[in-house]
């Protein structure tokens, strides 16, 4: 059996009174892509926040990263894991950058804080695959000068530059065009195939999941209602809810 990189057992997360995640159980093996799919408010982003250890949430249960439980860890210890061990790309890239500093400064600073050398060639390659032309021009610009789609791709490049073992992606394709979304998922797949990065992608679109996932977890109202291999969930869904989600993916009418 392949080794489980992340293993979540009976996880409960609550914001004050509201229980956002209720008894979630799921895992991802090394080098796999797990997609967590659900509607807004299903608890999928909260689950991601529980993994990164954002404050303001209380947790019961365990989150094992290579066998070590993250839940009882101190905040400082958990922060150390962020960036190098666990990478996070969020839906809203504006939150990831300082809006008025150049990307060049921000990239260098981030890498320096993790003792990683700035590799121009690697960055250039990453930019090209993410459909970003003119690397030097972009590095000289500032986040506020860029469109949302551009900032999102640059945020993805920033997270990928660090080569994290586990990359958490929270609705990163939702604000992008279909073509750009495909380019981004292709890049994630390349990362998985070439570097063996383990990826957890949160999305409301099963179409995206179908394109990239090894495993799929379906969440509804805070619960993981279906979890299995992508083939199982897509081709032999056990729950009515999953079948409805499948039905709602826009289909190209060709006849």
């Amino acid at each position: 059996m392949a080794e489980r990189l992340l293993d979540i057992k009976d996880l409960w997360v609550a914001y004050e009174e509201i229980e956002a995640v209720k008894g979630a159980c799921l895992y991802v093996e090394k080098g796999e892509v797990l997609c967590i799919v659900g509607e807004s408010g299903s608890g999928k982003s909260t689950l991601i926040r529980a993994i990164t250890g954002s404050s303001m949430i209380t947790v019961k249960g365990s989150i094992l990263l290579e066998g070590e439980d993250l839940v009882p860890m101190k905040k400082r210890e958990r922060q150390k894991l962020l960036g190098t061990k666990i990478g996070l790309i969020q839906q809203n890239p504006a939150g990831a950058f300082n809006p008025i500093r150049t990307f060049d400064k921000q990239f260098r600073e981030t890498l320096k804080s993790h003792d990683i050398l700035f590799d121009n060639e690697k960055l250039d390659q990453l930019f090209v695959t993410l459909g970003l032309k003119d690397t030097q021009g972009i590095l000289k610009s500032r986040p506020y000068e860029m469109s949302g789609g551009m900032n999102q791709r640059i945020a993805i490049a920033a997270a990928m530059l660090m080569d994290p073992e586990l990359l958490l992606c929270d609705e990163i394709t939702s604000a992008l065009d279909v073509t750009t979304a495909i380019a981004v998922t292709d890049e994630l797949l390349r990362l998985k195939n070439e570097k063996g990065t383990t990826i957890i992608l949160v999305t409301h679109n099963l179409g995206i999941a179908a394109n990239i996932a090894d495993k799929i977890a379906i969440m509804s109202k805070g619960e993981v209602i279906e979890f299995g291999s992508a083939d199982q969930v897509l081709y032999d869904p056990q729950r009515e809810y999953t079948r409805n989600l499948l039905r709602d993916v826009p289909k190209l009418i060709e006849k």
Partner: protein
């Protein structure tokens, strides 16, 4: 007979300091009554500029727009509002946050005060009456988008201009809004220009497709023809992306 809506050789340039962007370059289109025209393209292709220019929110550099054969180039949004209404991606912020829904909808009627009609429209878009006494912040994205459709209909406008109206919604809510538009179209109540980056979505809804890239129309035609026999590489690329994101076989 004249088309319901027509644009002829439209040009628009954005100038910011030394940077000049040709947002629309010789774009022409038409829309007939009871028809939905889909406009697809990536961000920056000029789709939103086109809609804003039609609605009078932007000044065109060149070209003319016609409603039932009559030139209305240069009209303000307030004037064009009598026959066309925009529906935006972010429906929530298109309503006054301090007003209840009913007031916002009433306002679009230009003095008309017909509560019965509002109730009728709200039920047409599949919402409960009691939502009318709420403010936009307490409605979900999908509910707001439905209210925006009801508001547009209340104004008695002939034409809806929909700018990425489902992009901010999740797949399930999007499917519901699309279903609503399909129903309205069946009843012949809807003539619309539907802008989206998602060609699959457009294929489900539109009679004709126009593909835009870098401010120009690169392909135009009947939906099935464009999808089955795309002429330009760019359209083929869009279709390829859409196919990769679809899960056709299993959903049948």
């Amino acid at each position: 007979m004249a088309h319901l809506l027509e644009g002829k050789n439209l040009y628009k340039t954005y100038r910011e300091k030394a940077k000049v962007t040709q947002a629309l370059s010789d774009v022409s289109f038409y829309l007939d009554r009871g028809e939905i025209l889909g406009i697809v393209g990536e961000s920056g292709s000029g789709k939103s500029t086109l809609l804003k220019a039609i609605a009078g929110m932007l000044k065109l550099d060149q070209g003319s727009v016609l409603y039932n054969g009559k030139d209305f180039t240069g009209m303000t949004p307030r004037q064009t509002g009598a026959f066309l209404q925009m529906i935006f991606q972010d429906a929530n912020s298109s309503f006054d946050p301090r007003r209840v829904m009913k007031k916002s909808i009433m306002e679009s009627g230009r003095g008309k005060k017909d509560e019965g009609r509002i109730l009728e429209l709200v039920s047409l878009v599949g919402l409960e009456e009691d939502l009318l006494s709420r403010k936009p912040s307490s409605l979900s994205g999908g509910q707001c988008q439905r209210m925006a459709i009801a508001r547009a209909f209340y104004s008695d406008a002939d034409i809806l201009l929909c700018d990425e109206m489902t992009s901010a919604l999740d797949v399930t809510t999007q499917a519901q809004v699309v279903e609503l538009l399909q129903d309205l179209k069946k009843d012949g109540r809807l003539s619309a220009v539907f802008v989206s980056h998602d060609i699959a979505l457009v294929s489900m809804l539109c009679d004709r497709i126009m593909v835009m890239k870098d401010g120009t129309c690169v392909e135009e035609g009947d939906t099935l023809t464009v999808i089955k026999h795309p002429c330009v590489d760019y359209t083929k690329e869009l279709l390829e992306s859409a196919r990769r994101q679809s899960i056709q076989e299993i959903s049948e």
